[in-house]
């Protein structure tokens, strides 16, 4: 099935249309509300594309509750899904968001309270929506085998390599981004990135920017080779410790966004993919536990030492290759 053409043929191009890129996926967003479109352009401005749309998202905004009431509702909000064989119906109990996905046409309709885009509290839901749309498009385009998965992490570019600082919510990803500023590297995103899967030949993994909204306004649309992954731990002294593959595997898999798409799906499929990806990444990437304090200098000094050790390791591997 040519999903790209099928998805695109269902869309009327108008000024109320945006095409957003996430990895090799293109999502066409349609919305008649001008204010919402302006906000979407602001959020996704670095990721606009004119590629074929793999998936189409028809967005309708509703304005049922005040921003104050919305923010009160958010923490209690749970999305219920009803999976059907053709796609997924979803809604929140108060109907501040509801919609449907038709996998046959690659079309998602979403009716959503306008405050989702205005509110800091709504950011997590907007990101969750982006992940769902990305994985749904991967289901259509790659038959459920995404070429890259989303990793919750702060990504910092240093010397043409990306270092990921990963950990659960509240561990300090945004703090690391703030401590980086413009002095110690370039922040790609402080909340999440796409990490490619290694090929048969264990190629260097690539990190791609994705329009996930973090606390800080860093959303670069660029692709850079991965240097190493730091798993964050707040401590009283800054230091880095190399992790075994198993330690890396068990801790990293919790930082991978669950590859859930909008259709009937078994949990086994989701966790099998996370397990496969985590094994690949832990096998091909140096992992460190980074204990850190709020001292900026010592953080980047330790990261610098790790970079030097990786460079030395790389040179030694090259020598071994030559001798072989």
């Amino acid at each position: 099935m040519n999903v790209q053409k099928k998805a695109e043929s269902n869309v009327l191009t108008s000024s109320h249309t945006l095409q957003v890129q996430a990895g090799d996926i293109c999502c066409m967003l349609r919305c008649d509300d001008e204010e919402t479109m302006a906000r979407l352009r602001e959020i996704y401005g670095n990721f606009l594309t004119d590629q074929y749309a793999d998936i189409v998202l028809e967005l309708k905004t509703i304005n049922k509750v005040s921003i104050n009431m919305f923010e009160e509702l958010l923490p209690k909000m749970k999305v219920s899904h009803e999976a059907t064989k053709d796609g997924d119906l979803f809604e929140t109990p108060d109907l501040t968001a509801n919609g449907a996905c038709d996998l046959n046409t690659g079309k998602v309709t979403l009716n959503v309270e306008k405050h989702f885009l205005d509110s800091d509290a709504g950011r997590g839901y907007v990101n969750h929506g982006l992940c769902l749309v990305y994985h749904t498009a991967c289901k259509l385009k790659h038959n459920g085998h995404p070429p890259a998965l989303i990793v919750h992490s702060c990504a910092v570019i240093r010397n043409n390599r990306v270092f990921l600082f990963a950990g659960p919510s509240g561990i300090g990803k945004t703090t690391v981004a703030r401590m980086c500023g413009d002095k110690y590297g370039q922040v790609l995103n402080d909340e999440g990135v796409l990490l490619s899967r290694p090929g048969q030949d264990n190629n260097t993994l690539m990190v791609k920017g994705i329009p996930i909204i973090g606390e800080l306004p860093y959303r670069l649309n660029t692709t850079v080779p991965l240097g190493a992954i730091f798993l964050l731990k707040q401590a009283e002294k800054t230091s880095a410790r190399r992790l075994s593959q198993m330690e890396a595997y068990t801790r990293f898999m919790r930082q991978v966004a669950r590859p859930i798409y909008m259709a009937k799906q078994e949990r086994r499929e989701v966790y099998a993919l996370i397990a496969e990806f985590s094994e690949e990444v832990s096998r091909t990437t140096p992992f460190f536990e980074l204990e850190f304090t709020l001292d900026q200098e010592s953080l980047w000094e330790v990261v610098g030492e790790v970079e030097k050790s990786l460079d030395k390791e790389g040179r030694n591997n090259e020598k071994t290759d030559i001798q072989d």
Binding site: M246, Y249, R268, A275, E276, R283
Partner: protein
């Protein structure tokens, strides 16, 4: 009669280095179990072709332990894996 042992279909597991990680999906949560090098070898031999004696003989040969010790290790590991509901006898 030989009682061959198999991994239950659909269990999520990966070989990670020389160890094995098994994810057991439960109703509302998941659990992760790590098998060390020896247990990982036992797990990999639970392929429907081997019984506990075959596995113990392989452990005895590969890990430089006595057959008696290998049998005890295999029995203990098989018992744990059975309790985790990740293997079954054919």
């Amino acid at each position: 009669m030989r009682k061959r042992i198999s991994r239950i279909d659909g269990i999520i597991w990966r070989k990670v280095g020389e160890e094995v990680a098994i994810i057991v999906l439960e109703d509302t949560s998941n659990s992760l179990h790590i098998l060390n090098k020896t247990a990982a070898h036992i797990w990999e031999m639970c392929d429907g072709e081997h019984d506990a004696d075959d596995i113990a003989a392989s452990i005895n040969e590969r890990f430089d332990v006595t057959l008696e010790k290998a049998k005890a290790d295999v029995d203990a590991t098989i018992d744990k894996l059975e309790k985790m509901k990740v293997i079954e006898y054919d």
